[in-house]
Symmetry: C2
Subunit: 146 residues, 2 copies
DNA sequence: GAGCATATTCTATATATGTCGAACATGTCA
DNA sequence: TGACATGTTCGACATATATAGAATATGCTC
């Protein structure tokens, strides 16, 4: 029994949305320069990759295809101006970070913050500086909560 | 110009190793009951999925295929006993957590801890309880570092 | 030794992702 | 108006992942 087109669409929209590495690279650029064309993103991507890791960029069509797919997934929004397309983000940076963080937390720490913190201190070599900074942050947040 | 088989193998081994969601599910079980057979993992997976999310398990062959691939990737190790295979983990829980955490940190926070902490306090609604617990942890870690 | 239970291997499909070339469209400027 | 620069669309292929049925092997029990 094959599903109807409708059912497939529903499944498609319901499917868990995760950003891949390349998608993150693109999103970061979009957040910086939106609204922008695919070409602009492709160039900026090449620039960043070159300067940060010395690796080559990607072909225009590669970037464009990825961006089109991101639009389908609801990460991006396309606005037509004449025959051009301008891309804008549909999710905020905060939102994306939150999703990424929570995914990690769920996978690796059963969704709980405290065990993660414990882990950080035990295994991630949190520096004294970072620790006191952290303590400061926590103190402030406690104050604010009062 | 196509690559030689050797080159393909090298690329294969060099490729970035990430655990997918299903692989995490399986790894968690392995860490708990290793050394173990694929069948045992499949049964335990069904049990956990049912009790935690009320969703169905997966066919034996699905689990087995995934586990074989995990062995290829170096997550698992197969030990033959007669005609049976016993699986063991090749990476520790700590190691896996570390990888997952760092991947998230790199993607979403440019690899730096402090911005992540800031983010947590601002957006993840760290509770007063968690905050003081955290503060306690930090205090202890500072003492130890002395 | 025949058959059952269990395990392994092989094969196959669908979807996602990464990658890109080629063809086609169109606004601009000499 | 015709060439060029820039964009868009289409199609294609490789690999990864998720999924699972079918065929095959084999140890054990009666």
């Amino acid at each position: 029994m094959s599903d109807s087109v409708e059912e497939q669409k529903i499944r498609k929209n319901e499917r868990k949305i995760e950003m891949t590495e390349v998608e993150w690279e693109i999103m970061r650029i979009i957040w910086d320069i939106e609204p922008c064309s695919a070409g602009a993103v492709q160039e900026e991507l090449a620039r960043r990759r070159m300067s940060s890791e010395g690796i080559s960029g990607k072909a225009y069509s590669t970037v464009k295809t990825t961006m089109d797919r991101m639009a389908e997934k609801g990460f991006l929004q396309i606005e037509k101006v004449r025959n051009l397309q301008l891309f804008k983000s549909c999710i905020s940076e905060v939102d994306a970070k939150q999703r990424e963080f929570r995914k990690m937390l769920k996978r690796a720490f059963n969704g709980a913050l405290t065990p993660m913190m414990q882990f950080l201190i035990e295994h991630e070599g949190i520096s004294t500086d970072e620790a006191s900074q952290l303590r400061e942050l926590v103190r402030k947040s406690e104050e604010k909560a009062k």
